[in-house]
Subunit: 328 residues, 2 copies
Amino acid sequence: VGSPKLGHTPRLVEDETLERIRRTLGNGIEAADLRDDAALVDVPGGGSLVVSVDSVVAGVHVDLELCSPADIGWKALMGALSDLGAMGARPVGALVALCVPPAGAGGELTLGVMEGVAEASRAAGCPVVGGDVSAGATLVVAVTVLGTVGDGCVVARRGASAGDAILVTGPCGGSAAGLRVLRAGPGRGGRGAAFTREEQGLVAAYLRPQARLDEGEAARLAGAHAMIDVSDGLALDLHRLADASAVGFALDVVPVAEGATEAEALGGGEDYELIVVMAPDAVNGYEARCRAAGLRPPQRIGSVTARTVDRTLSGRPLAQLGWQHRLG
Amino acid sequence: VGSPKLGHTPRLVEDETLERIRRTLGNGIEAADLRDDAALVDVPGGGSLVVSVDSVVAGVHVDLELCSPADIGWKALMGALSDLGAMGARPVGALVALCVPPAGAGGELTLGVMEGVAEASRAAGCPVVGGDVSAGATLVVAVTVLGTVGDGCVVARRGASAGDAILVTGPCGGSAAGLRVLRAGPGRGGRGAAFTREEQGLVAAYLRPQARLDEGEAARLAGAHAMIDVSDGLALDLHRLADASAVGFALDVVPVAEGATEAEALGGGEDYELIVVMAPDAVNGYEARCRAAGLRPPQRIGSVTARTVDRTLSGRPLAQLGWQHRLG
C-alpha cells in the first residue's frame, strides 16, 4: 500500500496489526485507544496527562546519508509532539529511548541525536525528563511525550459529524518535496551549485518540521470536533479521521506547499500540519484566535459528509494514498 | 567493563555518555535527573507522575534463541516497572514502542512480544495506554512507564547517609544463573533430560522476572532513605546508589539465590530485587509491613559508611562488577 516512489518516511503503525495488538492486550487497555494519536491517563491526586509514543528508525523513516544525527533527533521529538498538537494538548515533558549501533562513532551519534532532541525541546518548550541509551544494530529513537489540556477536553479523531468544515493549518507536501530535493542534490546548476531559496525551504520542511502545538490548542479552544496530524499524507490521515468518526468527506481543494506537487501533498506525509474539523459557525472564532496569536491563517479545504463511502476530491473518489508498512 | 562471561543483559546506560547527554540537554532538563531510576513530572491541574523509559534490544539484552517473543515482552515491561518500584511508586500506565524486523514472521513476532507485554501488564496491574510499531533491522522494545506515589515523596538513589542499614528485598544472581542454565540446556542427564526444579526456578527468574512494586512501596512507606533496583548486578547498582548519595558501604554478606553463584549475584543483573537503605530504627517497621502484606522478608546485608572510598564486602574492597556497555 502507499506510494513508495515518494519514498517518504512511513509511520508503520499498520492499522491491521494495531487492531490485533489491541485484542491481545484485551482489558489490559483501559484509558487508551491505540488508534488515536494519543491517550489520556488520569493522574492520582488531580489532573490528567495526554501521552503518546512515536519512533524514528534509520533506514526506514530516515536516511543517515540525507539527515544529520541532530536532524533525526529533531524529527523524532517533533513527530511525537505533533501527536499532542493533534489532541489540542501542550507538552509537559518527553522521554527518549535511544538505540545506537555500537560500532564506529556510536558515542558521537548518540550526542548528535540528543543535540537535535535538545534543539527541538527548546523550540517546543518541552523538557526532556527521562532517557535511556542502548546498543543495537540500527539507530532507533523512540520518543514518549506527555501533554496537558488543563481543565479542557482533548480533541480526538472521532468527533467529526456531517456538515462540519474541514480545515488545515498549512499547506502540505513540503516535507516530501524536501526529501525529493535532497535526494536530487543541488547539482542541477552544475558543480558547486547551491539549493535555491525555495528548495532550502522544502529541505527545512523535511529536516526540521514543526509540531503545530499553538494551532492545535487554538483549534481546541475554538471548539474543534476532531483533529489529526498529517504524518502519513493528507489523504491517508483524512481517511483515518473519517474512519474514526464514521463519516465521509468532500474535499474542494488540496492545499499544496510551494514547490511541492499535489501527489506529495496527498501521499507524502510528515508535514505535521493539522487537519481540523469543526462546526461551520466555529470557523470565524478559530480564525480570529489564529490571528490574535500570530499564527498562519487556517485554510478551509472541504466538508464532512454523512455517508462513509462518500470520500471525494472535487467530486471524484479520493484513494487512501500514503504510507502504511507491512510487517511480515 | 563488566563481566562478559556472565553474558547477562547489559542495561547499557553508560554513565559517562549519560553525563554528556545531560550537558547537551542543558536547561532543557528540569524535573529530571537522568541518572536516577525515574523522574518526577508535575501534572498541571494537580498531582505528579513518576516516569521512566527502558529498552530491550534483541542480540544485546536478549537472545531470541533463548527467549520467546512473549518472554521478551514480559522482560521489557517488568524491567521498566522495576524502575518505578525503586522509587517506591505504583504503576499508572505504560507505552510500548516496538521496532520489528520486517522480514519473515514480523507480524507474529509483534504479536508474540505484545502477548508477553499483556501478561506482565496484567500481573503488575499496569495498563498499556499507548504504543507504536515500526519496522527496523533489530527487535527493539522501548517501554515508558508512568507511576504515582500519591501524596508521598519518591525515594531516590541519593538519600543514603552514614549509619543507615542496607537491605535487599530478595537474593540475587538467580537471573544470571537462569541464563547460564538455559545456555547449557537440560542435556546433562542425557537425551530427553528435563530441567530440575531448581533449574526451572532459575530459568523463570531470567525469563519472567518480577518488578518489586509492593516491596518498593512498603519500603517508601516505612521511610526508606534511598533505593535502587538490581538491574546490572548487586555490586554495580550498590556503587551507583553510593555514588549518588556520596557515601561508602560495608557489606557483611552477599544474598545469593539458590543455585546461583556469588559472582552471579554481584555481577549478573536483571534480578530486579531492590536495594533498600533506611535508618536502623526503621527496619522493624519495614519488616512488619512486609509481613502484613505477605511479602518475603527483606534481608539486611550491611551498612552505609561516611567515607565514599570505603566500599567493602567483609572488610575487603568491592569492585564495581556488573554491566556497562561502551558505545563507540
